[in-house]
């Protein structure tokens, strides 16, 4: 390991020399990797933001239990304590029929007059169940509702479970699409990097033959080319991150600022995205170049 580290400047220097000598091919590889990683990064941003959006919505999710008009105070208490016993419930807020009517009037605003003459208590009283953070999953919500629905004094329950189900289905679909497209893009990048290294190996075949002759081990012969692949991939990752940030701050942010007022904020991914793109680029470069140079050396031996 120590010897490998001592030789690292040599590996790095040889990799840079290769890139400089095959600069057209290397540039093409970096550009292609950059474009692929921009798509990958953009998909990742979409997926993260949609997940966040659904997460935020889920955090606001609550179940409303409407009570029967003729409910007894014992039944009311029984419902409340049964709900509070559930570990997924953070708190229960009661809304009397007067409060419900008041809120309804507020919502109607200038049209609130249509409610005149309907009586004071035509809206049922209700319990709003607020769930604990981290417990707002479909399974918990369904289990709680199944228990509450059958209790005496419960008229009906209201929730946005159907929408939650649809959105969770949508995010699963988005995730699947992101992974599928990413895998295809990754394969493309892998193929391009492998091809670049193959061209470099062809240009350096005399060097490699002499390296074998003087007693260089396969590991020593292999490492500069793997370094070259990793460098190309990492450069593609850096360029993709820079491009995405540029696109976000120069174009999307001004356009999206209108939506921000309504609480819709798209996050660009931050340094996590940078690390992800450089890491994915470097990993693809590593795999592509390692596979190619190993194959080349194996063929040389046959």
């Amino acid at each position: 390991m120590n010897r490998w580290l001592q030789s690292f400047p040599y590996f790095f220097g040889e990799a840079l020399l290769d890139i400089r000598e095959n600069r057209a091919v290397a540039a093409l590889t970096i550009v292609t990797t950059t474009i692929s990683l921009i798509f990958f990064g953009a998909l990742w941003i979409v997926q993260v933001n949609v997940s966040d959006l659904i997460g935020n919505w889920r955090e606001r999710f609550q179940v409303e239990v409407f009570l029967k008009n003729k409910i007894t105070s014992t039944e009311k208490e029984a419902i409340k304590s049964a709900v509070l016993r559930s570990e997924s419930v953070e708190r229960v807020a009661e809304r009397t029929s007067d409060e419900a009517l008041k809120k309804f009037r507020e919502q109607l605003g200038p049209n609130a007059g249509v409610l005149d003459g309907l009586g004071e208590a035509f809206l049922p009283s209700s319990y709003r169940i607020i769930l604990r953070p981290g417990w707002r999953t479909m399974a918990n919500i369904e289990s709680l509702m199944a228990r509450v629905r059958v209790m005496p004094g419960v008229e009906r329950l209201r929730n946005d479970l159907t929408w939650l189900r649809r959105l969770e289905g949508a995010i699963q679909l988005i995730r699947l699409a992101v992974w599928t497209i990413s895998a295809l893009l990754g394969l493309g990048v892998l193929f391009i990097i492998a091809n670049t290294i193959r061209l470099t190996l062809f240009a350096r075949r005399d060097d490699i033959a002499i390296m074998h002759l003087v007693g260089a081990t396969d590991g020593f012969i292999r490492t500069p080319y793997i370094t070259e692949g990793v460098l190309c991939g990492a450069c593609g990752g850096i360029a993709a991150y820079a491009s995405l940030m540029l696109l976000y701050y120069a174009f999307f942010l001004p356009v999206l600022s209108g939506f921000s007022a309504e609480g819709f904020i798209v996050r660009p991914g931050g340094w996590h995205l940078g690390v992800l793109l450089v890491g994915v680029g470097a990993s693809l470069g590593f795999v592509g170049s390692a596979a190619t140079v190993s194959h080349y050396l194996r063929k040389q031996r046959e």
Partner: protein, 246 residues
């Protein structure tokens, strides 16, 4: 065999290598070696040969006699189909890839066509080989200057091979072969592309190296070179040793 360029070889590997290498007076020993190529014809047959440590030996014979194949067996570029090839007591037909790489660090090889890298300077051609086997940049620089002095090319270290004469290019190739201070130097028709005066210059370098205890094996069909050095010759014909003599 010593591997002078790998002073940092792991102790366990050194112990294993020492245990495997039987003590031997011979630098090279070939026992009943056969080699044939894909088309089925035997290039070498029943080759038995011993070369002592510090000896200077010529392998001679007409074109197609098997000289190059014989040398290829000595540095592991080819593997014998039958028989054993011992270099400094180690049977190279049984070495693993990594062990063969380490063994090659103790063998210098010179070719008729020099095999220099055109896009590297004289200095870089030699230093590159040092760096490729893990020698530090500083140590490589020191060794390269020393060996360039030996072949009288120190002042041309920054030139590219295309600016050198054939003799000078061959001397660079020799310097590259000698930079590890190998106990064994193998040369395949090293004077094939040189005029007689340059050929003798190259032979003078080989004689000097041999005087410093390096075993030298040269394949050539150039009688004048053999006469100039005047050492043992092994004559190959049709893949067999026909004559061994002074």
């Amino acid at each position: 065999m010593q591997t002078p360029s790998s002073p940092r070889t792991k102790p366990a590997a050194r112990r294993a290598a020492a245990a495997e290498a039987a003590p031997s007076q011979d630098m090279i020993r070939l026992a009943n070696v056969w080699k044939r190529y894909e088309h089925g014809r035997f290039v070498l047959q029943t080759i038995d040969l011993q070369v002592g440590r510090g000896e200077f030996v010529f392998i001679t014979g007409p074109s197609g006699a098997g000289k190059t194949t014989l040398l290829s067996l000595l540095y592991g570029a080819e593997i014998a189909d039958r028989g054993q090839v011992f270099i400094a007591g180690r049977n190279i037909t049984r070495l693993r890839r990594k062990e063969l790489s380490h063994l090659r660090r103790g063998i210098g090889v010179v070719f008729q066509d020099f095999k220099l890298l055109p896009r590297r300077t004289v200095f870089e051609n030699i230093a590159f080989c040092q760096r490729a086997i893990g020698v530090s940049a500083r140590e490589a620089r020191r060794r390269v200057y020393a060996v360039l002095k030996l072949v009288s090319l120190a002042e041309k270290r920054d030139l590219y091979p295309r600016f050198l004469s054939g003799g000078e290019q061959q001397r660079v190739a020799i310097a590259r072969a000698l930079v590890n201070r190998p106990p064994l130097l193998i040369a395949d028709e090293p004077t094939g592309n040189l005029d007689p005066e340059m050929a003798n210059e190259v032979m003078d370098v080989f004689k000097e190296v041999n005087r410093l205890a390096t075993t030298v094996v040269v394949a050539t069909h150039d009688r004048s070179v053999i006469e100039y050095v005047g050492s043992r010759t092994v004559r190959l014909e049709f893949g067999q040793i026909m004559k061994v003599g002074a």
